[in-house]
């Protein structure tokens, strides 16, 4: 199946849990009057399944040594991460109202140590996989069964550093490392196929030593199915190519590059988004 064919294959309508998390994203967006809405909405189901069904963690002790780690390497999608972390109680939901504000802890890109539950400060693209593989090596050295999930954007993996990291993870056969690509087919300027075509993407990851699965990244069932069977192969890191729609959930934003980042968001726009996410 080509990636083009995936664009409208986004499963059924979003369920209440997915809508609820999107409303939290809008709350953050409203708080900062800005944000990468499109980049956050394509990530929601991946984060939802990781935190609802897959990962081991303790919001009361975010640095618990035996937790699974999740690095949002595409840091600009942080509103999605903030939504799930707030929902899980890592910090009060009210923090979303201070998104990007002078006295808030939730910046336009996530920062470790400042925000409970954030594993790495990201925003500069192409850093997360190397940090994650370092953590995965550490887990192996320490004999822990913790896993490390690294969520990357499709534009992000233009970065050469990602492929340095991929070579390294393959070499070390890091079966406790999971690279997830949020493949929404749109980067900031235009479609990935136009700016820097990534295809054949699954073959690339395979060639670097990963076990690869492609999923409908908005299908909770598909994500649960794959993520409950890790590692996919005993001696390989896993790459999950998550076919998504940028802006999923807001009709105007879906597949629309101008929604990569929005600022000066009006009250009317916020109200319209809430209405659409009811």
């Amino acid at each position: 199946m080509t990636h083009e064919a995936h664009i409208r294959l986004v499963g059924d309508d979003l369920d209440e849990r997915s809508l609820e998390l999107r409303r939290l994203v809008v709350r953050g967006l409203d708080g900062g009057k800005r944000g990468h809405l499109g980049s956050a909405f394509s990530l929601i189901e991946a984060l939802r399944v990781l935190y609802d069904d897959v990962m081991r963690y303790d919001p009361a002790n975010p640095v618990w040594a035996d937790r699974d780690r999740c690095i949002l390497s595409k840091g600009h999608g942080c509103l999605a991460l903030y939504a799930i972390l707030a929902d899980k109680g890592f910090f009060p939901v009210e923090e979303l109202d201070r998104f990007c504000r002078f006295d808030g802890i939730l910046g336009g890109h996530p920062e470790r140590a400042k925000i409970p539950g954030v594993e790495a400060s990201t925003g500069a693209l192409g850093h997360g996989l190397s940090i994650g593989l370092g953590q995965a090596l550490a887990m192996r050295l320490q004999g822990r069964d913790s896993r490390v999930f690294v969520l990357m954007g499709d534009g992000e993996i233009n970065e050469g550093s990602v492929w340095e990291a991929a070579m390294c993870a393959g070499k070390h056969k890091l079966s406790n490392l999971v690279a997830m690509v949020d493949y929404n087919k749109l980067q900031s300027y235009d479609r990935t196929a136009v700016v820097q075509d990534l295809e054949p993407l699954a073959d690339k990851w395979r060639a670097f030593g990963f076990a690869v699965r492609e999923v409908d990244g908005h299908s909770v069932d598909e994500l649960r199915h794959v993520l409950s069977r890790l590692p996919l192969e005993a001696d390989k890191p896993t790459a999950i190519i998550s076919h998504t729609v940028k802006g999923r959930g807001i009709a105007d934003a879906e597949g629309n590059p101008s929604w990569h980042h929005k600022s000066k968001i009006s009250d009317d726009e916020v109200a319209a988004m809430y209405a659409e996410l009811e």
């Binding site: 920062e111 470790r112 140590a113 594993e119 790495a120 400060s121 500069a124 192409g126 850093h127 997360g128 996989l129 190397s130 940090i131 994650g132 593989l133 370092g134 953590q135 995965a136 090596l137 550490a138 887990m139 050295l141 320490q142 050469g160 550093s161 340095e164 990291a165 070579m167 390294c168 070499k171």
Partner: protein, 312 residues
């Protein structure tokens, strides 16, 4: 100096299970003993500097103390964003050991020289920058890196450099060492330029030149402000000396301090270093140092003129 530093890392690793070593694609045989005895903590990851720094950050986040070694210019320029974000923003205890700081790789040309490494590293919050003068000082320094909380950049010289450090003077990160008591002029120098400063001071003393002291600023960041200011009060002029561009290195750091703290009362300063242009010659490190007026005779000549004109 390189061998001493890596031998010390091996010793630290034997004593402390938190120590890991990460190299890029170093010379055959490097740290074979480490690899043989502690293979699980020895990583040779190829020519992937960006990845290596991120990987070191991930290991450090989980309690390890990575010592990362490759050529100085590649560990500073090639992966600068990873050093800035992954190491400095997270403030992680990763040690960067840069081979061939300054003009060591003179015959290999400007792609291999590290003449702005100090300025770009010292621009980063949380980073410590250290350039020892000889291998004995390196041996005193490396064990102290074990428990330093943040990232450290260690600038290595060529090796085989004359031993001028003295054990009785001790070594403490961030504390400059007075190698020769100040007279009219104070040299503030770092790395192997301290041995040139000592030689120039001796030559001046033997030829009716100005009496010169030498303050060895092995740690360029954090600069030993107290020592610098204490001497600034006593001398007629300060000469900074570095195997490094004059843009943003030791001379700049000293100048900034003096202007910020003393204003018009600051003593005159002469900054000796490498001009703001790419080196256009090959040859040896010594030849290039000579080309830039950074060998003892030329230094002495510059100081004599400086003392006569500015610090009279």
């Amino acid at each position: 100096m390189r061998k001493t530093s890596l031998d010390q890392v091996y010793e630290l690793a034997r004593q402390d299970p938190r120590v890991v070593f990460i190299g890029s694609d170093l010379g055959a045989g490097t740290l074979d003993q480490f690899r043989d005895e502690m293979p699980e903590r020895f990583f040779m990851e190829g020519v992937t500097e960006q990845n290596i720094i991120g990987m070191a950050a991930g290991l450090a986040m989980e309690g390890y103390i990575p010592y990362v070694n490759t050529i100085a210019t590649f560990i500073t320029r090639r992966c600068f964003e990873q050093v800035a974000v992954d190491l400095c923003l997270h403030n992680l205890p990763v040690r960067l050991i840069g081979n061939g700081g300054g003009l060591v790789y003179a015959p290999l040309g400007p792609t291999h020289l590290a003449v702005e490494d100090i300025s770009i590293m010292r621009a980063l919050p949380n980073m410590t920058v250290v350039a020892p003068v000889d291998k004995e000082e390196m041996a005193r320094f490396i064990p102290q890196t074990l428990d330093m909380p943040g990232p450290v950049y260690i600038r290595l010289a060529k090796g085989g450099d004359p031993i001028v450090s003295r054990g009785e003077l001790g070594f403490e990160v961030g504390k400059a060492i007075a190698m020769r008591e100040a007279g009219d002029i104070l040299f503030v120098s770092t790395g192997v330029m301290t041995n040139r400063a000592l030689e120039a001071a001796e030559a001046l003393a033997g030829s009716n030149g100005p009496a010169c002291g030498v303050l060895h600023m092995h740690t360029v960041k954090p600069l030993d402000e107290d020592a610098t200011l204490a001497y600034a009060d006593k001398v007629r002029g300060i000469v900074t000396l570095e195997e490094h561009t004059l843009v943003g290195g030791l001379g700049s750091a000293v100048n900034d301090l003096l202007v910020d703290r003393l204003g018009r009362a600051a003593p005159p300063v002469l900054r000796l270093g490498i001009p703001d242009r790419f080196p256009d010659k090959y040859g040896t490190q010594d030849e290039l140092l000579g080309y830039y007026g950074l060998q003892p005779d030329a230094i002495a000549h510059s100081v004599r003129e400086f003392a006569a004109l500015k610090a009279a």
